[in-house]
């Protein structure tokens, strides 16, 4: 499929597309997960994760730029030939679909624990899926408009988190390098998965109007914002909980919020969860959209609309199979392993190929 006029977005909209795709389920459990390895230096790990993402964004950009193609499939065909290009697009579509399933199952786990313990799982899934599909079937222009709008919700999100400074001990996470740099690198390796979402660049890059430089700037800014928000929340969690407490609380952000109250609103965590839900919907919407775009490009369909329903349905059904803790872990591990080739391996390979191709010309 080719991008129509309605699919064209400005670099600013592109920024928020990347931002909303990256900012997803993870923010609640980020501090807990990273703290496992990196201990007090978790926030350094998060920043390193952001830096790694930034490097990858530059690599993505390096082989996407100056390509006269109108979509990702065409760009790849020019780079590596028809059959391999199709393979790459199929691979990425499957990868995005898997990430959708992972996000959904993570969402269901948290929502069941915090809000609806008794509600059937499929209803919890439907709540998010309906909203995500309703947006994902629209043009990229509409999706980006909506993303810019809901990005204002990040402001209360950050404000609520910073209220946590009321009752903190700055000494909790110190010394930052408790377990040495190796542990921090391990944490960075872990935090890197929370930054997934900038791969959206691959499929949306050609819909952005503007120079290559603007596009890189936009994507980098998006990633930068996410890094700041993640590092900030992680740091607030680190100074709010003693090092021994943190491994016991899987969603530290919510516990931080639960512990204090404004005089007007008592339970800020519930408000926070509602805002968090919007971030979940937007990232699931992004991944469903990206998958359907990939499929539409493969099928040479006119638009992605009809694929959205099927892809979302398949993802929802798959999610219901992943909800036991054991299976959830397997899925988590699996996606971690396959993200290496999809986020590092293939792009770097493509980058090297594009270097050689460029020289030949």
């Amino acid at each position: 499929m080719n991008y129509s006029i309605k699919d064209k977005i400005t670099p600013n909209q592109f920024l928020f597309f990347i931002l909303q795709t990256q900012l997803g389920v993870g923010i609640l459990s980020l501090a807990h997960q990273i703290h496992k390895d990196a201990k007090g230096g978790a926030w350094i790990s998060v920043i390193m994760g952001g830096v790694i993402s930034q490097v990858m964004i530059v690599i993505f950009w390096a082989f996407l730029k100056k390509n006269p193609a109108s979509n990702f499939l065409q760009a790849m065909e020019k780079l590596v030939g028809k059959i391999t290009a199709k393979g790459i697009v199929i691979g990425y579509s499957c990868f995005f679909a898997l990430v959708t399933v992972l996000e959904l199952s993570e969402y269901v786990r948290i929502i069941t624990k915090w809000v609806f313990p008794e509600t059937p799982v499929w209803i919890n899934i439907l709540i998010v899926a309906i909203a995500a599909v309703y947006l994902a079937k629209e043009s990229l222009g509409t999706i980006s408009r909506m993303y810019v709008f809901v990005s204002f919700l990040i402001i209360p999100l950050v404000i609520f988190t910073s209220l946590g400074f009321k009752n903190v001990h700055f000494t909790y996470p110190m010394p930052f390098l408790e377990n040495g740099w190796l542990a921090i690198l391990k944490g960075a390796n872990m935090s890197f998965f929370y930054f997934l979402g900038y791969e959206a660049m691959l499929f949306t890059y050609f819909a952005v109007e503007g120079s290559d430089k603007d596009k890189l700037k936009a994507a980098s800014m998006g990633n930068f914002f996410v890094t700041i928000v993640y590092a900030f929340t992680t740091y607030v969690c680190l100074i709010s909980f003693a090092p021994d407490e943190l491994p016991l609380v899987p969603e530290p952000v919510l516990y931080v919020l639960k512990s204090y109250s404004l005089h007007v609103i008592e339970r800020i965590d519930l408000i926070f969860l509602s805002i968090w839900l919007v971030s979940v919907i937007t990232s699931i919407c992004s991944f469903v959209y990206l998958t359907s775009i990939g499929v539409a490009q493969l099928c040479k369909a006119k638009n992605h609309k009809k694929f959205v329903y099927w892809i979302a349905a398949v993802c929802c059904v798959c999610t219901t199979f992943t909800l036991t803790p054991h299976r959830g872990e397997i899925l988590d591990e699996f996606i971690k392993i396959i993200s290496y080739p999809f986020v590092f391996g293939i792009p770097i390979l493509l980058f090297i190929i594009s270097l050689f191709r460029g020289r030949k010309r």
Partner: protein, 506 residues
């Protein structure tokens, strides 16, 4: 302009089926034959009058419909001049403002029912059509439904020419264009499309003309008829065309490059393309000082949110998350709710229904009786419903606040939309609490994001986000500021009173 969604081509309306004879009839040389034919076509209606005339040594007849024509005008512009001239050409003698010579009898029938006066002369196969229509109109009084405190107090009336006269009179500009359309298969309704050349986008005018020409209806009863045929998305709860009876409002929109549609016998102008924020603007904002204008604006937007979020918010709090409230408030709310056996959704629906009933009953009753409704509805029901334990007190507060907020909107259509939208949100809230509310709001805003009218985003400048556009949405900047900002961003010759940017143009 590819952005404008091409609507499915509808069948263009066919020729009017008034005349029963299949072939076109030309005017006969004989006066009697002509008169008989016309009388036949008009089913020998009793209000057709004829008068004998002698001119140029010929016998002639003047025929007109008594109830449509001005007798004084006939005497002054037709009978007297003919009497004085005696001989010569008819077109030289008659002093009527609009004069035509026709050959077709079928057309003559159309003319006579539009209030013209027909003159036949013996031996001449031509019909002379003179303007003599009678127009009865009321004064240009301020519309009751759109009152303002300061500013012009006139309004449109049920007469197309007068309405356009008001516009032309206020807007002395050679670029003001009026285009007439005739709609309806069974009855002609004259429609006027008014726009400013150079300000309104050419493609927009083309598109609206195309849509108007495709309207396949038999007759136009209300501007809502036109609206429903030309709007982009009929399945949206949001009004995409603005109806107003105020000339000053209409002119302000014309100067922003939008167009207005007037129809005969209706005091309502249809304005398009509009954004959601147009519905929240009132001329009053510009008559008061800008700070106060901004305050009123923001209160109106707060009312928008209160009107459709508050009932849902309340339901989700008392049903799912009472712990969100401070502890003292929980006690008083809970003690009031405990007396009510129903879930809060039923309570809310009951109260909203009562409210809509009172409102609907109040509209059509004369003022003296509607006061009774107010007392019965407001005092008796409001008080006793709590006493009986059907509805809790906080719910009454919530519903009353919502009702007032919904009526703050200056536009009746938008007020209905807001009242309608809170019901799905209430249901979502009663099922899933905050999570349901979030999803519901997400769906509504997604709908707003994708909604476009005539190629313009409906929720601009919020979606797509344009910081400059905010100067005249939630708050109103001083006017000189608005003008400056508009000029900055628009190189073409557009000097607008307000600064909603990007409207009517790419």
């Amino acid at each position: 302009m590819e952005k404008i969604r091409k609507r499915k081509a509808r069948i263009p309306h066919s020729q009017k089926s008034l005349s029963s004879s299949p072939e076109a009839k030309d005017v006969f040389p004989s006066v009697k034959e002509n008169i008989d034919y016309i009388r036949e076509q008009l089913v020998h209606s009793d209000d057709i009058l004829e008068r004998d005339i002698y001119f140029d040594d010929r016998h002639g007849k003047l025929i007109f419909i008594e109830t449509l024509t001005d007798k004084y005008l006939i005497i002054e512009s037709i009978l007297k001049p003919l009497e004085q001239a005696k001989v010569g050409a008819v077109e030289h003698a008659i002093t009527s403002s609009d004069f035509e010579i026709g050959k077709s009898l079928d057309k003559a029938v159309n003319w006579i029912i539009s209030g013209k006066c027909l003159l036949f002369l013996e031996g001449i196969p031509e019909v002379y059509v003179c303007e003599a229509s009678l127009s009865i109109k009321r004064g240009v009084k301020e519309p009751d439904n759109e009152g303002i405190v300061r500013g012009a107090h006139d309004g449109f009336i049920e007469h197309l020419i007068t309405n356009i006269h008001i516009i032309r009179n206020r807007l002395e500009n050679p670029n003001l264009v009026v285009r007439y359309f005739t709609l309806g298969r069974k009855s002609d309704t004259k429609i006027a499309l008014v726009y400013m050349k150079g300000l309104a986008k050419e493609e927009l005018v083309e598109e609206i003309s195309r849509r108007l020409n495709l309207i396949p209806t038999d007759f136009i009863l209300a501007p809502g008829f036109i609206g429903e045929y030309i709007e982009d998305d009929s399945y949206s709860p949001f009004p995409q065309l603005l109806y107003t009876e105020r000339p000053d409002r209409t002119i302000a929109y014309l100067m922003e490059g939008r167009f207005a549609i007037f129809s005969e016998a209706n005091p309502t102008a249809i304005i398009a393309p509009v954004t959601l924020f147009s519905f929240y603007q009132s001329p009053d904002d510009y008559h008061s000082r800008w700070m106060f204008g901004s305050l009123i604006r923001s209160i109106r937007f707060a009312s928008f949110l209160i009107a459709f979020i508050l009932p849902g918010l309340y339901i989700s709090i008392v049903t799912f998350h009472p712990e969100v409230l401070p502890i003292e408030l929980i006690y008083s709310v809970k003690s009031s709710i405990e007396r009510v056996p129903y879930p809060s959704l039923i309570e809310a629906f009951f109260m909203e229904l009562t409210l809509e009933l009172i409102r609907e009953a109040g509209i059509r009753l004369p003022t003296r009786v509607s006061q009774t409704i107010g007392i019965v509805g407001g005092l008796v029901i409001g008080d006793s419903v709590v006493q009986t334990g059907l509805v809790s007190l906080p719910m009454i507060i919530v519903v009353a606040l919502t009702a007032i907020s919904a009526f703050v909107v200056p536009s009746h259509e938008m007020s209905s939309t807001v009242r309608l939208l809170r019901f799905p949100l209430m249901i979502a809230a009663s099922m899933f609490g905050f999570i349901g509310m979030t999803t519901g709001l997400f769906l509504i805003f997604t709908h707003l994001a994708k909604l476009e009218t005539f190629g313009n985003p409906y929720f601009s400048p919020v979606m797509p986000f344009k910081l400059k556009g905010f100067k005249d949405t939630f708050i109103r900047f001083p006017l000189w500021h608005l003008n400056k900002s508009t000029k900055d961003s628009t190189p073409d010759q557009r000097n607008s009173e307000k600064a909603i940017l990007g409207e009517g143009r790419k």
